[in-house]
């Protein structure tokens, strides 16, 4: 498979009468975009705003983040296969992406959503999405929609917005970066690199219903057994996020399209390792489901002849059990495993970081303490629902200081802060 992602430089974004990128300026036709988005059943109103790195803007509550792209070849392929476009095999072709531009969908479906992105100051340090030029899409939906319908509507409209805006880069010829992801199927690659250790990436996805779902080729992963993907498929949009609550450690669609573990392994394919594939493993609510998927994942890894595996988690709480169960099974098969997870070591950083422990979980990357308290400044402008600020500040008395407008909150409320696919650069230092 060969996938080329050609990245188009965007220095500024303005509204205008057509949606096009020229000489580093992205122009958006606001009315046209809003009309198109309102065609999605259930969407009653849309607001578009910009939030650039350094602006004193707070975006809350963030539902998803998506990279605006267009598939240039093969011709005629549009959008996210199986979701809002016809079924097509992903992973081959040429894609134009608006570099470091992100579509950020907001709007709370349930009252307790709290994911925040601050574009400036202390808050900006803790989220990867303070460094992207964000087009914030506030989708107001029909009040009569039931929550899961509301979620589906906002998800669909968000993906559509990323496609419509992605079209602006269709005819560009100048690129700031051209990423090429070329890799054959395992047999072929093993013949080329017979003595490089085979490595599999196991990516766990929250799959527990309402606001806690993942989708692979449009199928809700709650209904699938663990499955095998070629790395290019995920980089080409096969996996999208339906998960709106776990702010710090949910995997946004942007992070699927630019999966950091896949990119890190790709960079070493053919040099240090033979990257044989990506296994998507759903995190289910039932324990039998967890046991079954852990067994299935470790069998799949053996089938692929894996000698080393990286496992990334999504969320915090019951998924910790899946993580150590998978590690246990792989290590018992002699497959060397590295886990990536965030931890909760309390406000004082003193409590036991992971409650579900097995001796086999001995090689772990910690992406930070979800209970670390950070202090956010007073925003000049809030995009989204100020009411959700109360969720953020409501965690405990005294979190919000009315005089200065400053507020303290835990990392777990900051989008992507402790990203468990290692997309961000937090780690732990023991003092």
């Amino acid at each position: 498979m060969k996938l080329e992602i050609k990245r188009i430089k965007v220095n500024d974004i303005i509204f205008g009468d057509e949606t096009i990128v020229k000489d580093g300026v992205l122009t958006l036709n606001k009315e046209e975009l809003i009309t198109e988005l309102k065609k999605v059943p259930g969407v009653v109103d849309v607001a578009l705003d910009f939030a650039f790195p350094g602006d004193e803007i707070r975006i809350i509550p963030v539902k998803d983040v998506i990279e605006p792209r267009v598939t240039v070849s093969p011709k005629g392929v549009r959008g996210f296969s199986g979701v809002n476009a016809d079924i097509v095999q992903l992973g081959d072709g040429v894609v134009h992406a608006l570099d470091e531009v992100a579509i950020v969908t907001i709007g709370d479906i349930v009252g307790f959503q709290e994911g925040v992105i601050d574009m400036w100051g202390e808050g900006a340090k803790w989220t990867p999405f303070s460094k992207t030029k964000n087009i914030v899409v506030d989708l107001k939906c029909d009040k009569s929609l039931k929550p899961h319908e509301h979620e589906a509507t906002v998800r669909e409209a968000g993906l559509l917005a990323s496609e419509l805006i992605g079209l602006a880069g269709k005819d560009c010829t100048k690129f700031v970066k051209e990423e090429v992801y070329e890799m054959g199927m395992p047999d072929e690659e093993t013949k080329k690199y017979p003595n490089l250790p085979k490595v599999v990436y196991v990516e766990m996805l929250i799959s527990q219903g309402l606001l806690h779902d993942g989708f692979c080729y449009g199928i809700n992963t709650r209904f699938t057994l663990p499955t095998l993907l070629h790395p290019n498929e995920e980089l080409d949009g096969a996996v999208i996020s339906g998960n709106c609550v776990a702010a710090c450690d949910k995997i946004t669609t942007y992070q699927h399209q630019n999966n950091s573990v896949i990119k890190s392994l790709y960079a070493r394919h053919g040099k240090d390792i033979n990257f044989v594939g990506v296994v998507i493993s759903p995190e289910l609510t039932t324990l039998d489901g967890k046991f079954r998927n852990a067994d299935f994942v470790s069998k799949l890894c053996s089938q692929l002849g894996a000698q080393g595996v990286i496992v990334s988690e999504e969320g915090y709480g019951n998924p910790d059990s899946d993580l150590v169960m998978i590690a246990e099974r792989l290590e018992k098969k002699g497959i060397v495993t590295v886990l990536i997870t965030d931890e909760c070591s309390g406000w004082d950083g003193l409590s036991q970081p992971l409650t579900d422990a097995k001796p086999e979980a001995k090689a772990v990357i910690s992406t930070g303490n979800v209970s670390k308290v950070v202090h956010l400044g007073k925003a000049k402008k809030i995009l989204g629902d100020p009411e959700s600020i109360a969720n953020l500040a409501g965690g405990w008395a005294g979190a919000y200081d009315p005089e200065t407008g400053t507020m303290s909150c835990e990392l777990n409320a900051v989008i992507g802060a402790t990203s468990e696919i290692g997309f961000h650069n937090c780690t732990i230092k023991v003092l």
């Binding site: 349930v110 009252g111 307790f112 959503q113 709290e114 929550p147 899961h148 929250i206 527990q208 219903g209 309402l210 606001l211 806690h212 709650r222 998960n243 609550v245 776990a246 702010a247 710090c248 450690d249 949910k250 995190e283 289910l284 609510t285 039932t286 324990l287 039998d288 489901g289 967890k290 999504e314 969320g315 915090y316 709480g317 019951n318 998924p319 910790d320 059990s321 909760c344 070591s345 309390g346 406000w347 409590s351 036991q352 409650t355 579900d356 979800v370 209970s371 109360a390 969720n391 409501g394 965690g395 405990w396 008395a397 777990n412 409320a413």
Partner: protein, 122 residues
């Protein structure tokens, strides 16, 4: 083996499964469950949710199957209580959004029941 749901969610529809109502907090439900598991039974769902915000929920339901003492269930329940305490050390229960938490709790039990229904003939 018949199933039980321990819950403090008044709005919960057990979908035909007998419900043991626990008066009190999310943590009370965890404690009552542990007491029960001490003498028998097996956890069918993990006691805790998958995202931290849901730990702040005032309500929580847990699905159990009757039967003999199951060591791993007792161990898992004790760890779930520890995990809950860690997240909630200085956090207040979020009563502001009770209605939505009740709905989310129902959705997750339905999701579990649906999973089980798909796999078990009974």
């Amino acid at each position: 083996m018949n199933k039980l749901i321990f819950t403090n969610n008044e709005k919960l529809d057990g979908r035909g499964i007998s419900v043991i109502f626990v008066k009190g907090s999310y943590r009370r439900v965890l404690e009552e469950c542990l007491r029960y598991l001490h003498r028998g039974g097996r956890l069918l769902t993990h006691p805790n949710p998958a995202s931290i915000k849901l730990f702040h929920s005032p309500v929580r339901s847990i699905l159990i199957e009757e039967g003999s003492v199951d060591e791993s269930s007792i161990l898992l329940m004790e760890r779930a209580i520890h995990q809950y305490d860690q997240i909630m050390t200085l956090h207040e229960v979020d009563n502001r959004n009770l209605v939505h938490y009740e709905m989310m709790d129902q959705a997750h039990i339905d999701s579990a029941l649906e999973e089980l229904a798909r796999w078990q003939s009974s």
